[in-house]
Amino acid sequence: MNKLNRLFFGVLVLFGASWLGMVAYPYLTFAGLQPNKDDATGEVVPTGKPGTAEQGYHVYAANGCVYCHSQVVRDKSDGSDIDREWGKRRTVARDYLFDRYIFLGASRLGTDLTNIGARQTDPQWFYRYLYNPQAFSSESVMPAHRWLFRTVKINEEPSSDAVKLDGADAPPAGYKMVPTAEGKALVNYLLSLKKNYALPEAPEPTE
């Protein structure tokens, strides 16, 4: 075998080993995971996401939310995630079973969003936060996402979605602020972020 072929073979075997272990193995194993059925209640968790939340994935991805927000809850032994009430238990592989795209994240300049849909259930809260994050927390470095909203005349559209803004943010008289389709999709996605069900492999810490 000549030297070049030996080298090709070396790359194939050594890099290939990591490919088998870190790509092929998880790809095949996690594809075989099943949702958990609670024998007592018959409840099956986790469930898939509703259609509008699916579209929200793309808005979340497009605007780089993942650069500052994680979606991982670690065990008490690894961090304060549970004490910060980001989740009642750690997240495990099965939690992400139906997520078409997952955003575990590598930075926590912002809060963890694993269970944001359980902590905040009012779409208005999300709209107002996205419109002006500093109104909620003056130290926040989150950019305002104002292109997810548009100003319309008060009588133009049904007003169930109108965003309640006050002070300097309030729209001019006779107008109201409504979220765009993208804005709605993003908020539906954020509302769907809740892993607040029980899984046998990740019991809630007792203490």
Binding site: K3, L4, L7, F8, V11, L12, L14, F15, A17, S18, W19, G21, M22, V23, P26, Y27, T29, F30, V59, Y60, A61, A62, N63, G64, C65, V66, Y67, V72, R74, S77, D78, G79, S80, R84, T91, V92, A93, D95, Y96, L97, F98, R100, Y101, L104, A106, S107, R108, L109, G110, P133, S137, S138, E139, S140, V141, P143, A144, H145, R146, W147
Partner: protein, 490 residues
């Protein structure tokens, strides 16, 4: 006197490979396209780097474009990251790779149309990628943000270059393989493989489900740094360091050890970013072990270079290209040492999700990879254009400003990140207070990035000047007198 040191370097014996300038000339067009476009991408990346860092300090100030969807932090950050990694570092790396392969194979290159098509395709892909990210078509996966059609174009360009590399190696002059060739073969085989895998499984319709996406993504990032950039930069350093100081590499057994250890370990290193995450603990544990063992290739390489240069440090006073390469390879050692430290569970759980990991990434991408590539471009471009660099002072300023700016950035992110990490560990400190603690460090980051951006623009100015210089100042024929002192592997 040429500040970059060909004429000045000692010439113990004449080239055994005949006329190096003929070989250089045979690949000059594609290599120069890659270098010129890499420089342009560095400028684009620098502008967005500065924008993202000031956006973190003043999210609402009008000059950070609040409310403009195309330039919001989440999009400009992805543009910075991708323009830097693929636009600058990968383009420059491909150019360096082509040049090194043709020199080390000792034959005038054929199949130039392959390389020129690759260069054009690569830049079309990057341009489309930039627009897609700004327009909001990102995949939202770190370092795989480009939409799948861009991934396909980039892969095609890469495959063409890799195909050319293999063809050229097959037709090389008979004889032993240089250690640099080992590194380059590894880079040009591993990267297209990793890039195709990640794109097929992640962005093209997200074939991989759930948490396996995270495993694949981190495997890709580990491979991108460890088996694409690292071997290209080490390949270049193993070629230029002995050549510049005028003596062969200290030990080729040590070089071999470093090579095989890197190839064995690098693919396993990514997962240590997921300590406490939803992946099985054994995957994270293997990755921690791999990161700690990465000290072996790092120390092997550091020792080898140190023993080679030892006693000849005066070369650094006039050889500016070597300065960049020496600093870059030192940064590789620091990068590996820090990587081993922060991958352990004890430290990793504190610093993951903090600015420490950002600083660590910059130590790899800028301190190590970019510095080595700067040195490579300073060495190679004059030889391809047959011209001299115009202002030595500009190059010196580039070096010092990069070093100072980067030192400041690394210190700022590391100290800020450690404070952030300990604050995050303490649930009694609310997130607002953590941001309060961070704010001076975010300001420090902006200042450091500003210095680095000025340095990068200085580099771009030097490259623009040598490309546009009206007359050929360099005397022809000097290239042929270079020595060949690469370490060979039997």
């Amino acid at each position: 006197m040429n500040p970059l040191g060909v004429q000045d370097s000692p010439e113990p014996h004449a080239s055994e490979y005949g006329d190096l300038s003929t070989i250089d000339r045979s690949v000059r067009i594609p290599v120069l396209i890659f270098f010129a476009s890499a420089t342009l991408w560095l400028v684009i990346a620098s502008v967005f780097w500065l924008l993202t860092s000031v956006q973190m300090c003043a999210p609402n100030a009008w000059w950070t474009f609040p409310g403009v969807s195309w330039l919001t932090f989440g999009r400009s950050y992805s543009v910075f990251l991708n323009s830097f990694v693929y636009g600058w570092a990968s383009s420059a790396g491909i150019g360096v790779g082509i040049w090194l392969v043709s020199r080390l194979c000792g034959v005038a290159a054929r199949g130039l149309s392959l390389l020129i098509s690759a260069a054009v395709l690569w830049n079309i892909g990057l341009g489309l990628g930039l627009l897609s990210l700004l327009a909001g078509f990102s995949n939202g996966k770190e370092l795989l943000e480009y939409p799948s059609y861009v991934g396909f174009i980039l892969f095609l360009a890469l495959a063409l270059v890799s195909f050319w590399v293999i063809l050229t190696l097959q037709s090389r002059r008979p004889g032993p393989l240089f250690i640099s060739q080992w590194y380059l073969v590894t880079a040009f085989l591993s990267f297209p493989w990793a890039y195709a895998t990640a794109n097929l499984l992640l962005s093209a319709g997200a074939a991989a489900s759930g948490v396996s996406q995270a495993a694949i993504q981190w495997w890709y990032i580990g491979s991108l740094i460890g088996l694409w950039f690292t071997p290209i930069c080490l390949g270049l350093a193993f070629y230029l360091v002995p050549k510049s100081v005028g003596c062969p590499i200290y030990s080729y057994n040590l070089a071999l050890l470093g090579f095989w250890a890197l190839l064995l370990l690098a693919g396993w290193t990514g997962m240590s970013h997921l300590i406490g995450g939803p992946l099985p603990a054994w995957m994270v544990t293997i990755s921690i072990v791999a990161n700690v063992l990465m000290l072996v290739p790092a120390i092997a390489v550091a020792l080898n270079f140190h023993r080679t240069i030892n006693g000849k440090f005066e070369v650094l006073s006039w050889d500016l290209a070597l300065r960049f390469i020496v600093i870059g390879t030192m940064a590789y050692t620091f990068y590996s040492v820090e990587g081993a430290m922060i991958s352990t569970r004890t430290l990793g759980r504190i610093v993951e999700f903090t600015l420490v990991t950002v600083g660590h990434t910059h130590l790899g991408l800028f301190g190590f990879i970019s510095m080595v590539l700067f040195g490579g471009l300073y060495f190679i471009i004059p030889r391809l254009l047959d011209r001299k660099w115009l202002f030595t002072q500009l190059i010196k300023s580039h070096f010092w400003l990069s070093l100072i700016g980067f030192g400041l950035l690394l210190a700022d992110l590391t100290v800020g990140g450690i404070l952030q990490g300990f604050s995050l560990q303490d649930a009694k400190i609310p997130m607002n207070a953590v941001n309060d603690i961070l704010s001076p460090f975010l300001l420090g980051q902006s200042i450091a990035v500003f210095l680095i951006v000025i340095a990068n623009l200085g580099f771009a100015a030097a490259v623009a000047l040598i490309f546009l210089a009206p007359s050929r100042v360099r005397k022809s024929g000097k290239i042929a007198s270079e020595t060949t002192l690469e370490v060979t592997v039997n």
